[in-house]
Symmetry: C2
Subunit: 306 residues, 2 copies
């Protein structure tokens, strides 16, 4: 990799990457809104919580300069990957493009716009956007990175090293599927149930005492996810139900992004998360009635306000 | 039947009964809030929409006088039947008690408080409460009335006649189960899906074009309901899916009460509607994973605000 790094998308994940990486590389944060870029250019990008510093990435709404970059991190919401990839088309030199979206499908979308080497990533870190120039770093869990198609493993390893040097957790691995699918099943379930109930990811998600307790549905959804993964030939890295029990025992009360989306009446990422699993189930001939049910309910919820 | 009529509960259904019946009988509306009783006593009870008049029931928060009544209509929400029945205990003479709640179980609750002759009713009429003393009459669909346990059919027939004379639609029948279960399955599905999605009962509920369309879930829930009814030995009076298609084609966009309840962050009637079906399924050994899923989600939604 040569040159500087561009991060596309200044949400929680993009902001955490841009601020941290600006301590070890030249970083440009490509924003959608001019006032967002102006705030970061003027004040820097403050990180609080797990770390405490002000990063100094460049910030812009103008993609000019992308030709010189060595690494692009596409950190938009899944719904916006298509637009981000379209901005890269014809502009990138021999840069590597890393996608880090929830769910499935971001790599394929980017590939349609160019033949760059690509990295697949899935991140477990989380935070809260407090302002355009301030992100709270909440969970310092790692980002896992693997080559997509025939990209060299060395690129994944170098990128992970750079991210670790910048103060975040990262790990390169030859195959992302076992980790990604564990997170996908976890996310499809926890995000959907949170969005439909209004509950943060709390103790209700693991309760099994009474027949109407929510843990039964959560476990049923995860069991369907595991059957879909198995039919797709994936060995999960972690058991999603154990991830769920552990997280709720720790008392995190994490506010899943899909719940934030429906409360703010924004489009959700459900098509890329729960929807991706439902489509995979159909392709593999696996029955997934509960997953299809919560998918339909979230689409209905979106229809109520979109 | 002798004496006057008492209506307990001044919601939409109670107000419609009290206002209409006050044109053909002495009616007392027993309210929970003194200001509600005062408003009706002062201004009368206005009905607009399908009818247009001001009814003149007496209104009170005091159950004294119940001893003289011939008919009590318990028109509270399902959650409040227990409290209403407790107020009747030791007060009623030889009155007949008619329950008209959504779902199952109201008759059994009332029976625990006295050995009065009882009528089972299910009503399809609907409206909107515009003020304590004003109800909009929206759907002029009938109320069906049948004897409960060994009450004489003649009492059901007389009551239906009186209601018809008052300007509402009503029909007496020897066995309410086929009608009640049709409505139960319809309600358990439509109310739950509306409460979870935020959609009124509109065209989305019958759409089947795309795999994520809501009609698939609606039909799946109703299919489970029909299997439960069948295992319970009930022949449905109407097919709930056809009721759903017909209602949405008519473009009613009805706002189901459970959706109103979750939006106002009130307890819902889910335990008496969807929950009643889930318990019946367990009792009969019928698989009902979708019904259990939406039941668990609504209970989770309640837990998020109660």
């Amino acid at each position: 990799m040569t040159g500087d790094i561009w991060v596309i998308g200044g949400g929680v994940i993009g902001s955490l990457f841009a601020a941290h990486l600006s301590r070890v590389a030249e970083v440009t944060l490509l924003c959608r809104r001019p006032e967002h870029a102006a705030a970061v250019a003027e004040h820097g990008l403050r990180v609080s919580g797990r770390a405490d510093f002000v990063g100094r990435p460049r910030a812009s709404v103008d993609p000019a300069g992308l030709a010189e970059t060595g690494l692009v991190i596409v950190a938009t919401k899944a719904n916006d990957v298509e637009a981000a990839a379209a901005r890269l088309e014809g502009r990138l030199g021999d840069a590597t493009v890393m996608t880090v979206q929830n769910g499935l499908g971001a790599e394929e979308v980017v590939r349609r716009y160019g033949s760059w080497p690509q990295l697949s990533a899935v991140t477990f870190m989380s935070g809260t956007k407090l302002a355009d120039d301030h992100v709270e770093y909440v969970l310092d869990t790692p980002t896992w990175i693997a080559p997509y198609e025939d990209a060299p493993f060395a690129t994944a390893a170098e990128t992970a090293s750079l991210i670790v040097e910048a103060g975040l957790k990262a790990e390169a691995m030859p195959d992302l599927k076992p980790a990604r699918w564990s997170k996908l099943i976890f996310n499809a379930t926890v995000n959907s149930v949170a969005a439909l109930t209004g509950l943060p990811h709390d103790h209700h998600f693991a309760e099994l005492d009474r027949p109407s307790d929510l843990g039964h549905l959560v476990r049923g959804l995860m069991d369907e996810g595991k059957r879909i993964a198995s039919a797709a030939g994936i060995s999960l890295r972690e058991d999603p139900w154990e991830m769920n029990v552990l997280a709720t025992q720790r008392g995190s009360r994490h506010y899943p992004s899909m719940l934030e989306d429906v409360e703010a009446q924004r489009p959700t990422e459900v098509d890329f998360i729960t929807g991706a699993l439902v489509r995979e189930a159909e392709r593999r001939g696996v029955e997934a009635p509960l997953m299809a049910a919560v998918y339909g309910l979230i689409k209905g919820r979106e229809a109520s306000y979109l």
